[in-house]
């Protein structure tokens, strides 16, 4: 482990400031990023597609505009990337089914990022349709964890976590249905931010489960994630899920610290399923938050992880299977084994069970809202296990559909819909990263980001980089 200060590990805002001041050339920065991708991507598998020429053209345009005094904002001239669910050029969703699919229309978030001046360097690896776990025998080679390339980087935004953690982009946009931004953020030692449902348009993003899907950034700092969110958020009439509420979070909202902030800890929800090493880091984070002036207190949720994950998965499987039904009928041989089996399971969910799950979801929302009346944010580990070794082949379906599921505490914020951030929480004894998750009231993204920023700055774990990829 090392503390890095190299340009490829600089924050998005640092390089953005240098670009604005014309101390750093977007063209040179993009060239350097493309060279690092060319050198490291064969080992890490973060990118499916790299836009060498198009990225350089965007960088040249940015450089020209900035030279004329037409600076568009923090992302202007900065190389970023998108998960391969966002429609842009070849868009595969990590599936052989779409291996040759070229999007005819760009995802709204891509268009907005480009309008903010971002240089889009490529498309990033994903679990198949944001669900099936990556394996060594997949159609597309799996992304690998920079801290231990034999292990998963977490998913489903696998490439996004890897690209940000290994200095192959200054930020990346992922998607999150049950934790797919925050899980790779935790496993790769970076920041992952799932905004309140509906604040970033999903128009042009291949869906998994439309009522649970979210778009959001992965970045090396909370401030970077906030800047990325600010660049693409806002109502989109092309996305029926898009919120009419205009919530913008700026850098000024991150200031002020957390003195007096009320942090609730719903220990009954996560503790019994959590790896002791992860729990140790979490307890240290709570001590640190208290020392910073936060009021930390126990806050039982009254719901188990299994209850929340069961509700989330029943909804996800039913909605995803409905979307995939034409593919399952006409091209079953091109769907991966785990994903195809999960979708068949989804087809076996009766309408009545789906509607019951939606009703149960409303109860979960009420219970979380009850806690958030007494607390400003809720804290828990992001995930209760360290990253697994990449499996040789597809996992059995019973690894996913089980009454003892992998402890992904992230599901709570998806089912609830409020904002959640995972920030680095220090390494486990074997050096693998862990994550602290903070979630809050719907549309109060600013408070969650402010708390995450304060912890990040005090703890400093986000400065750590893998020695394998200096």
């Amino acid at each position: 482990m090392t503390t890095a200060s190299r340009l490829h590990y600089a924050s998005l805002l640092e390089v953005g400031d240098q670009i604005r001041a014309r101390e750093l050339s977007p063209v040179e920065l993009t060239k350097a990023t493309l060279m690092r991708i060319e050198r490291l991507n064969p080992a890490l598998g973060a990118y499916y597609t790299v836009f060498d020429e198009a990225a350089l053209a965007e960088a040249r345009q940015a450089e020209s505009e900035i030279a004329k005094g037409e600076w568009r904002g923090s992302l202007h001239g900065v190389p970023i990337a998108f998960k391969d669910l966002y429609s842009l050029g070849r868009t595969t969703a990590g599936s052989r089914l779409l291996a040759d699919h070229v999007a005819t229309r760009e995802a709204a978030a891509v268009t907005r990022a480009r309008a903010a001046g971002a240089v889009v360097v490529g498309k990033l690896a994903t679990h198949e349709f944001a669900m099936a776990a990556a394996t060594l025998s997949d159609h597309f080679p799996p992304a690998r964890n920079p801290w231990d390339p034999d292990r998963t980087p977490g998913g489903s935004s696998t490439g996004a976590g890897v690209a940000v953690a290994a200095g192959l982009a200054y930020g990346a946009f992922g998607t999150d249905t049950g934790g797919s931004i925050r899980l790779p953020a935790s496993h790769c030692g970076v920041v992952g931010y799932k905004p309140t449902y509906g604040l970033i348009s999903l128009a042009g993003v291949i869906p998994l489960a439309p009522t649970l899907d979210h778009a959001g950034p992965l970045a090396r700092t909370v401030a970077d994630a906030t800047a990325m969110f600010a660049a693409v958020c806002g109502h989109d009439p092309d996305d029926p899920r898009s919120s009419a509420l205009q919530i913008v979070v700026g850098q000024e909202d991150l200031a002020g610290g957390i003195r007096g902030l009320r942090i609730g800890v719903p220990r009954d929800f996560w503790e019994v399923t959590c790896d002791p090493a992860i729990r140790t880091n979490f307890e240290a984070a709570l001590v640190q938050l208290e020392e910073m002036g936060a009021q930390v207190s126990e806050s039982p949720l009254g719901l188990t992880l299994l209850q929340v994950m069961a509700v989330g998965y029943v909804i996800t499987l039913k909605e995803a299977a409905a979307y995939q039904l034409p593919n399952l009928r006409s091209r079953p041989g091109e769907v991966g084994r785990e994903f195809g089996l999960a979708m068949r399971a989804g087809l076996l969910v009766p309408d009545g069970a789906y509607h019951a799950a939606l009703k149960a979801r409303a109860l979960i929302v009420r219970e979380v809202d009850r806690l958030l009346q007494a607390h400003d944010v809720l804290a828990m580990p992001t995930v209760g296990v360290l990253p697994d070794p990449l499996p040789a082949g597809p996992r059995r379906l019973s690894r996913r559909i089980t009454v003892s599921p992998a402890p992904q505490y992230t599901w709570l914020a998806n089912v609830h819909g409020g904002p959640a951030v995972s920030v680095p929480c220090g390494p486990a004894p074997d050096g693998l990263p862990t994550g602290l998750s903070l979630m809050g009231r719907s549309y109060d993204d600013a408070t969650v980001l402010r708390a995450a920023r304060a912890y990040e700055q005090a703890a400093g774990w986000g400065e750590m980089r893998s020695e394998l990829f200096p």
Partner: protein
């Protein structure tokens, strides 16, 4: 394979077939293995919905 397991696999195959979706015999074994947990998830959701 017990009779009940075989019956279960046949029932799952039939339900998928009615939706126009095929499943291989080795895959239906795997689906049948996970199916009790799926039923439990649905039971949990119903129980919460009625709470």
């Amino acid at each position: 394979m017990t009779d009940s397991t075989e019956e279960n696999e046949q029932a799952l195959t039939k339900r998928l077939d009615e939706l126009g979706v095929n499943i291989d015999s080795d895959q239906v074994q795997e689906l049948a293995e996970a199916y009790p947990a799926l039923l439990e998830w649905m039971r949990i959701a119903r129980e919460l919905a009625e709470a």
